[in-house]
Structure formats: structure tokens, C-alpha cells
Symmetry: C2
Subunit: 295 residues, 2 copies
Amino acid sequence: MSDFIAWMQACQSRMESVLADTLPPVHIAPQRLHEAMRYAVLDGGKRVRPLLAFAAGEVTGGTPDRVQFAAAAVELIHAYSLVHDDMPAMDDDALRRGKPTVHVEFDEATALLVGDALQSLAFDVLAAQPLADDPAMQLTMLHLLAQAAGSRGMAGGQAIDLASVGKALDLAELEFMHIHKTGALIRASVLLGAHCGTPDAATLAALDHYAKCIGLAFQVVDDVLDAEAPTATLGKTAGKDASHNKPTYVSLLGAARAREFAQELRSDAHAALAGLAAPAPHLRALADFVVERAF
Amino acid sequence: MSDFIAWMQACQSRMESVLADTLPPVHIAPQRLHEAMRYAVLDGGKRVRPLLAFAAGEVTGGTPDRVQFAAAAVELIHAYSLVHDDMPAMDDDALRRGKPTVHVEFDEATALLVGDALQSLAFDVLAAQPLADDPAMQLTMLHLLAQAAGSRGMAGGQAIDLASVGKALDLAELEFMHIHKTGALIRASVLLGAHCGTPDAATLAALDHYAKCIGLAFQVVDDVLDAEAPTATLGKTAGKDASHNKPTYVSLLGAARAREFAQELRSDAHAALAGLAAPAPHLRALADFVVERAF
């Protein structure tokens, strides 16, 4: 496990450095927008999506020098979505990763533009950086990220989430929402990392199944934490889902069964990795890492 | 001139059809989001940016079958920017193209997601459609659009615009704002259209200068119309700039000198085209079309 922690810290440190270099510097106009973009992205979170990309790259021979740009693109999309989700028209949250959200620290108009500009930047990174020997493969990666971010991916999941407030979803409907809202981008993280190497179809299929399990597990664990952890530990306002009458895995299954479900998803994720030609120790450890947050 | 009108109508009709096919159908979930995306994009505007792309493609041998996707991508970015700009946190406008704006017709959260999803879709189109023989050229086009949309392009221009409300800008500062806010995407329209063919460096430089003149002329004319046309003609709330104490070409130059300035920019645009190896009758007519709205 200590090897895993050292690997994780090395990836996080590399990610921070790539993101810092990718974001426009604050001395370039419009300075306040650039300051707010850096505030939204840097020094934040565990970088789970980039970690998944780096770990998937290891399976297909995608080197960190390439994967880092795919990882940065995914993290920029994730960061933009947090900024927009926190806005008053959406979740109206004042706290994120222990800091005031962007619209609180700056203002609503700036938060809107920060999200918009981060999304453009994500696609810019994928288009402009050398990610693959074959530019056609890079176009495939751009298509993959655009699908994951768009109305049939993350943005669509957010729309389904908004429409579900106060409604009695069943498990299948809740899963449908999360496959879009968080699952699509987690899947893109794994697949983009894999595309930086030379993946065959069987490997992509196995990684896709792994990513689906991890994506759901991530959400189940988030629901458990939201229901039980104090705000200070969480770094964001706790108990928001219950207070907004949003359906969650805890409200549908109870906390104990939700934890069990997360364990089952971890086992499924591990099983998907077992079929790979190459070992995938870091993907395996990441499945543990995602689930063990809840224990 | 009647040839030009027939050409324009053919392009507009092709554009409408490509956009209708590109936007997700309303029977696919999330249905309300897809309905709102179609509401925001279809049956709207003169499609000036697509027209510029088609006309620029003619100069470099970019066929309409290819240019139509580049044009759609640019129009989707433009449409997303209108949806977000109209929101209460930004310009707070209730009317656009004679219809209620998206956040009025639907709601603010939906408007936010519509803009976000339209931006993803724009990059998806550029990545997934066959736009160039060489995929590396297509990556260049994606980079071009991402730069035009991002914090050093359109989104940045919007930030500069917001920061300028109530301030006394001089002409150079006003131009700096508009080169970003509207100029960047108009430039991208022309250059993306040209990249669908086989442009040489001299042609790109001439088209770039043409696009800069047209982009500024477009804004100068917009300022004249905003100051003088009644709301019914404009299809959006007139006189908003003056009532928000925003600097405009009319407030800085007066309406008569602003009109003269638009004419000078048209002459500059025509001069840029005169140096091209191939004739560019539609780019020339578009320069007239943009400026003559004000007369």
C-alpha cells in the first residue's frame, strides 16, 4: 500500500504542475477571469480522475508524458462542472473543498465564464498536445471526451438530477442518472488514459466495465459520506442531498446496504481487471481507495 | 446581388438541416434538455458565422460537404454564448431573436446546462465529422476553435465586457474587448472554413485580416442598431447598452462617425480580399451585408 501512496502522490504532484502550466497565467488579460480559473482548479481534490487515467495508461503502455495531458483535460472538465453545479441556479453551494465556491469568492457572472472557459481549455489541451502517434486516434479521444461531457453524458446527468429532486426514483433510475452524471467522465478518464497507449478491443472492454463499477461505487460512497460525515471532514456542505429531498443510495438502500453495494462493485471492478493481459496494480488499488473512503 | 441572396438562402437552409441533424432528438433522454438545446439553436438568426465559413471555403477549395460541419461547430459555440450571456447573472435579457430567452422559456438551471452541452457538442462535431484529408489538420481546427471560444477569446471578451460596465473606455480598449468578445469567433469562422480546403499561408493571412475587419464592423453596426432600432425590429431588447452605461462605438464616436467607421472597415475588408489568388465574391458580399444592416 505504501508503494501505491507514493505513486499516487507522484501523479498528483505531476498533475498539479501540468494544470498550473496549462491554465493561463494571472498576468495575462482578462486577469480576474484567469485568477478565478486557477482558483477553481489548482490545489483542489484528490484528482481521482487523473489517477484513473495514469493507472489505465500503465495497462496499455501509455506513458505519463502523454497521459498527463489527457488527465488534465478530464480534470478541467470536472472542475468546470463543479463551478457550474455550485451556482445558485443549480445546487447553490457556498463551500467546496473547504474553500468558498467560485461564485461566492468572485461573483456569479465570473463563475459562469470560468466554467465556460475551463471547458474550452479542456478540449484545447486534447487538441494541441501530443497524445498519440496517430492524429486520428487523438480525434477519437476528443470525440470520447465530448460525448462524456455533453448532453448524453455529464451535462445530461446533471439535467436528470435536477429533474429528480423531490421525486421517488427507483434503483434503476438512480443508476441511470449516475451513469451519466459522474460515470461518463470517470469512464472517459480510464478510456482516455488507455488510448494514450495501444489498447486492443478486449482491453478496452474490460477497462470499460471496470470504469462503470468504479463510477457507481464512487457515487454510492459519496452518498454515504454526504449522509454521515460532518461538513468539516467533507470540505463541502454535508447533508445537502437529504435536505433537498434528493434520492440517494442511502435513502433507497439504507447506509449499511449502500456500503455493502460499494463492496460488491469493488469486487466486480477487481474481477474486470483479472481478465487483462497485463497486471493493473494501480487500477486495483484505486478501486480500494474509492470504496474505503466510506469506512 | 440576387445571386448572393440565393447563395445565402441555400447556405442557411443547409445549415438549418445540419444543425437539426446534429442536435440530439427530443425523444432521447434527457428530453427537456434536448428540447431546450434545439430551442436555443434552431430557427434562429442569420447564421452570419456559417455564411463566413462557407464563403471562406470557396476561396481554398473547401467543399460545402465539409465546411457545413465546421460552420455548425462555430454556430453551436455562438448559440451557447447567447444562452449564457442572456442569463440573469450576465446581461439578464428576456428576449432573443424575437423569442423568450432560454432561461425564461425553461429555467436558469436548464439554460446553464444548455450552454454547457452545446459547447461540448461543438467540439464533438469538429472531432467526429470528416473535415480534412489529414487528421492533423483537423486537430489544428479544434485548437483554433478552442482558442477562439476560451478565456483568451470569446469568454475572455465577455469577462472584459462585464468589467467595463460604467467605466470610461477609450477606443483602443473598446476594440480590445470586441476583438475578443465577437471578433475571435468570427475569425474562427473564416479560418475554419478556409481550413476545410487547402489554404496557403498568404491566403490565411489575407483572410485573417478580412475577418478582423468584419468582426469589428459587425460590432460597430450592432452598436448603431442597438442605439437606434426599435425592439421589434431588433428581435432583442433595444437600448440596453446605453441603459447599462456600457461603452459603445456610438457613445464614443457618435452615430454618424460610427457609421463612417463601419464603411472604412468594409473598405479594408474588400482590400484584403483583392490580394487573394482566387476571387471571393461571397466574402465580398458578406462584408457589404454586415455593414448595410446599419443603413
